[in-house]
Amino acid sequence: MSLPKFPDAETRHKKLVYIKNNWQLYVFFALPAVLLTFIFKYIPMGGLAIAFEDYNNRLGIFGSEWIWFENFQRFLSSTEFPRLMVNTLKLSVYGLLWGFFPPIILAILLSRVRRVGIRKKIQLLIYAPNFISVIVLAGMIIAFLSPVGPINAALGTQSNLMTDPAAFRPIYIISGIWQGAGWASIIYTAALSGVSGDLVDACNIDGASLLQQIWNVDIPTLKPIMVIQFILSAGQIMNIGFEKALALQTDLNRAASEIIPTYVYRLGLEIGDYGYSTAVGLFNAVINVVLLLAVNAIVSKLNDGEGL
């Protein structure tokens, strides 16, 4: 960022002339989005004030009693806090670690499929689950895992994994890989298709084995993208797929499936504890912003000074 400048009269005049000559750019182009963003994004930020209130719907934001940090204290000292924190972190960190390599492996394998027709067919297939909705995915999981479903039939058991807290994270993560790994491989596939033929020729002349080629050509090609992808997903740790967790949540697996966002939803909209629920949501959002700022600083360093 540059130091604040004191524009002299001339540059200020130039700017005014620009605005006057190009007023359409402001009114027709920028204004609609700015207005919508102000109303639906910035006004709710102001609404965060109720996190510091004993909010009462009848009295409204301006009439409710200020209790400052009481909601936060209540959350941090509640018996649920450690469990929610652990559940949220475990679900996203494990998801990140398990989900990170499959797309890379898929891209490397795809790039070695010689027949273009076959490669295209595989791509068409493995990208498809990305377009299945959260509800349909949850519905498939619930049906497959039902006591009378195919998985129990194949194993000869009668268990109901949807009610088992220990099964929740594996279900969530495996289904995430099933749905997303193919799609996430696109970006790596694109990078690999840019590997120059000269490098491959050089490898052949040097007599490098296939594994050596993958290690010395493919991996270094993918490395910058891997780093950025990893950091970007690390910056979303507190912001995980809430809709899917909610869809897969049952009363009985809540010990593992209750994460901070689903807790905010249940407390706020099902129980109606607006102020407290907002405070918990704000707590989560602040942690996420701190993570994101750290992440952006790292990305900027790695990406030649260019962050987001």
Binding site: I19, A128, S133, G139, A143, I187, V200, L269
Partner: protein, 296 residues
Amino acid sequence: MESRQFYTRKDKVVLWCGYILLALFSLAVLVPLIYVVLASFIDPVVLTNQGISFMPEDWTLEGYRRVFQDDMIGRGFLNSFLYSTVFAVFSTVICLLAAYPLSLPQFVGRKAINTFFLITMFFGGGLMPTYLLVSNLNLINSPLALILPGAVNVWNIILARTYYKSIPLELHEAAALDGASELQYFFRILIPVCKPIIAVLVLYQFVGMWNSYFDAMIYLEDQSLQPLQLVIRSILVQNTPRPGMVADAQNAAMMAKIAEQLKYSTIVVSSLPLLVMYPFFQKYFEKGVMLGSVKG
């Protein structure tokens, strides 16, 4: 890779291990999808007692009859189609417009407006304040509650801006020399060459709205307004098929079996439109990922 690749015998072993791995993953994707389709045609009793059967007498269209006889499914389709179309068009127009001034280096206020949008990517009011706002605006039970809050998609603005910047500046200069105003340049020259990115944005927003359920769940209480995902949520996730679908079941056990089989038919019916269209649009979706990665 155009260059010819030479493989030694050891390489070939490695290569085939890789192919097998790839085949296994592809099968893991394919098998559940095929299972759903097959199960959607099987008699409920047979399906829950012994699974997929290839005996002709175990095959039936009953599941589909039950799904289609319920008018909420049709209503859900119609609602989803309306919401997704309006949302995709409205949101894309807003984003295409907003991205244009942000792509001009000389635009006064570019940085401030940029920051104004970017902040909302990282921080927001969250669930309750947004809900209270929507309810104070009297948008509960209005489809506008689904369309307006998410219409400005900052990521899509970035995509559009990146695309505009890739258009040669000479085009803009030539238009300016010919006396075209910013508006004329945008609509007559820029937009026609931006069709690929427009297709990407419209498709992204359409699919995003089509597949979402949460906003509709909290904002639309009226049954007749519910989008498809919410209608099928009760069948698939909450295990409560709509009463009309299982009215002919003689007892609770039979009803449970029908409800189980019904899920597969529901999944097929609700996912088919998107999956059928998907191969035709695949290249656009892929393009979206590539464009995004430029600024990754």
